[in-house]
Symmetry: C2
DNA sequence: CTGTTCGCTCACCTCAGGGTAACCACCCAC
DNA sequence: GTGGGTGGTTACCCTGAGGTGAGCGAACAG
């Protein structure tokens, strides 16, 4: 509905999708989201193992961005050795929900040739 | 469940989302998709105008990638001046459908502060 | 004859996101 | 004391997606 060619869109986005794309635009973001979706309350090291190939730096920075975007919640326990847990916020859960159909589409076309 | 930590995923993807992300990963892909969704059968120049800020080179390459991925259909009429029309394929339409919830999520959090 | 439209293509350059790797403070097991 | 585990941080480098600008070949307006 003409969301695209409406010049007065709020904050530079022409439709909701690129607002979402800004959040999940990182290379590993969706994988982190997915890992967190399957098993909430993961720790840093667990996440690193769950997302094979990611480096600590990138995992940390992505986690920070997701936290800043209100997608994940970071809880650090003041123990020793230091323990930090990451969870999805309500917004993050809804984001993952919204990602569901997209995942289904991708899986469908990966399995089926997509005729 | 456990799609993530399953090492034997088909072609390098751990879940359907990153398969989808490969398709819509370009900076302007979703905008093109969205423009095509709102009004099918757009021409190159129209698309360029509909997606403000994109350059010809990038539009052309993104269009080519989308075509290679079976998302858009390219029909070139052998007239003069040359005319080319782009349409969404059935797969593209379903992709846009799958993008719907994501767009809703983005719009919701753009408008609402996300409490 | 010049300029413009149309749908690109080519060569070049920039820049930010991501990769590499070392390091930190702390504690426990050996 | 040494090594390993915790959860990071910092510095540097590097690749590739994307931006810039020009041109092309035909027709048509002026």
């Amino acid at each position: 509905m003409a969301t695209l060619n409406r010049p007065g869109a709020s904050d530079g986005h022409v439709c909701g999708i690129d607002a979402a794309m800004e959040v999940i635009g990182g290379k590993w973001k969706v994988l982190i989201l997915w890992a967190l979706h399957e098993q909430p309350h993961r720790r840093f090291g667990e996440l690193r193992r769950l997302v094979p190939g990611i480096t600590e730096k990138v995992l940390a920075s992505h986690l920070r961005e997701l936290e800043a975007d209100g997608i994940v919640d970071r809880v650090s326990y003041d123990e020793v050795p230091p323990r930090v847990e990451y969870t999805l916020t309500k917004d993050g859960i809804r984001l993952n929900d919204a990602l569901g159909p997209l995942a289904a589409w991708g899986r469908e076309r990966a399995g089926d040739a997509g005729s």
